[in-house]
């Protein structure tokens, strides 16, 4: 993995530039939606945030399972990095969603199933990161985090269905015109680069922290 670190700034920069270019697509190329009007354009940033956030949480689940199966530190570090990025993206998706809700319904918050699920996931993964930050034996912490990472993702569909049953308020489903679809795909794809860049950045940070800890230990042992 270490060989990929130098790619991180390029990926992030390329993703950033492409997303900036997508702003043009969003504002000029994509037509204004007939019923929802201009605010619907927030959707083009909101959806990639939510999707990549959810994908990060899925990655936490996969990496946690792989850690429990193989006990390789690689997977634990990956899960930690993905969880933090997922939390950041999901929080941004919530903020942009709230702004969108305010413009279309005049409310910052409604009991929409997807919004509620994202909020509950933010809480769950914030708790997960608190557990990861605890002072414990690294192996034990990694195992506990892996169990929590699995349990947390199993909860996601339950939260979604219960939130949907709780209230049937849905934003009207949008039929996307071809230009809208192109714009959306472009946004999601450019976000992929940014996401990968972020993941590598965060990964390198975690790996360096581990290296620092181990070298310090080594040095102390040698001095004794």
């Amino acid at each position: 993995m270490a060989g990929l670190y130098p790619l991180a700034p390029f990926l992030a920069l390329a993703g950033g530039f492409l997303l900036a270019a997508c702003q043009w697509l969003i504002l000029v190329y994509a037509p204004t939606e007939a019923t929802l009007g201009l605010p619907q354009k927030i959707f083009y940033l909101h959806l990639p945030l939510a999707w990549w956030g959810l994908f990060s949480f899925f990655l936490v689940f996969i990496a946690s399972g792989a850690y429990l199966a193989s006990r390789k530190r690689f997977w634990d570090v990956l899960a930690g990095a993905a969880a933090e990025i997922g939390l950041a993206l999901a929080a941004l998706a919530l903020i942009s969603g709230a702004i969108w809700a305010k413009t279309s319904w005049g409310l910052w918050w409604t009991w929409d199933a997807r919004l509620t699920t994202t909020l509950v996931m933010c809480f769950i993964y914030a708790g997960y990161l608190v557990v990861r930050g605890m002072d414990m034996q690294p192996d034990r912490r990694a195992r506990i985090a892996a169990v929590l990472g699995i349990v947390a993702f199993l909860d996601v569909p339950l939260v979604f269905f219960s939130a949907r049953l709780w209230s049937y308020i849905h934003p009207p489903s949008i039929s996307l015109e071809p230009e809208m679809k192109h714009t959306l795909v472009a946004c999601i794809a450019s976000f992929a680069l940014l996401w990968l860049g972020l993941l590598l950045f965060r990964w390198r940070l975690a790996q360096d922290a581990i290296n620092l800890e181990e070298t310090t230990k080594e040095r102390l042992m040698r001095r004794e």
Partner: protein
């Protein structure tokens, strides 16, 4: 495994009942919560059925956190946990034992919370009480399954209770929503649509977390400090 689980459960129950302080603390906290929420009403006013159901489940949730932190705290002193880990039975026996003990304590507490909700929040039990009983039983199974799995993760930690609550409460969200909806139907006598949906979600919750707890418990419970 079942025998070991029953042994552990009965040992834990006798210990908590004998000392009393653990369960008493959980009970008092729940009752205080219900009482404090009754202060949001002006005299003579009644809490809405949904509000009362939400407060009942919240009291149960706080109670659960204290119960499992007490149950897993029992073996913290003098390294007694090693004894349980070394016992010739699978680790899942410990999970099941603690879950059973927790279930008994939680149900016992709820039998006090329910009258407290009725008295302090001005509720009545309608003809739908069977539904309410069912959702309490199904919900409690899910609550203790996940409580017993994650209760073990706080072993050897300071600030156990606050750690457990921030991890557990959001995970329990689906059960709470179902419990509140059905509970509000029981208090108000009006059943809204989708009741079977709530039972489906609660049963799915139980199945998923009992299965994952059985698979994952050995990873969190061991002799390490």
């Amino acid at each position: 495994m079942l025998k070991a689980a029953l042994l552990i459960a009965s040992k834990d129950l006798r210990l908590t009942m004998g000392r009393g302080s653990g369960l008493l603390q959980a009970l008092l906290l729940g009752l205080l919560l219900i009482f404090v929420f009754s202060l949001s009403l002006t005299p003579g006013q009644r809490m809405s059925a949904q509000g009362a159901a939400a407060i009942f489940w919240m009291a149960s949730a706080f109670c659960q956190v204290l119960i499992f932190s007490t149950l897993y705290g029992l073996e913290e002193i003098n390294g007694q946990r090693q004894g349980l880990v070394l016992a010739p039975s699978p680790a899942q026996g410990v999970w099941l034992g603690k879950a059973l003990a927790g279930l008994c304590l939680l149900v016992a507490s709820q039998t006090l919370f329910l009258p407290a909700t009725i008295v302090f929040l001005g509720q009545e039990i309608s003809d739908l009480w069977r539904l309410g009983l069912a959702i309490v039983i199904i919900g409690d199974i899910g609550i203790v399954a996940i409580g017993s799995l994650l209760g073990a993760l706080s072993q050897g930690q300071s600030a156990r209770e606050s750690l457990l609550s921030i991890v557990l409460f959001p995970l329990l969200a689906p059960l709470f929503l179902g419990g509140i909806r059905i509970g509000s139907a029981v208090f108000s006598g009006k059943l809204s649509e989708g009741a079977d949906g709530w039972f489906g979600i609660a049963l799915a919750f139980d199945a998923i977390f009992v299965a994952s707890a059985l698979a994952l418990f050995p990873s969190v419970y061991n002799a390490e400090e």
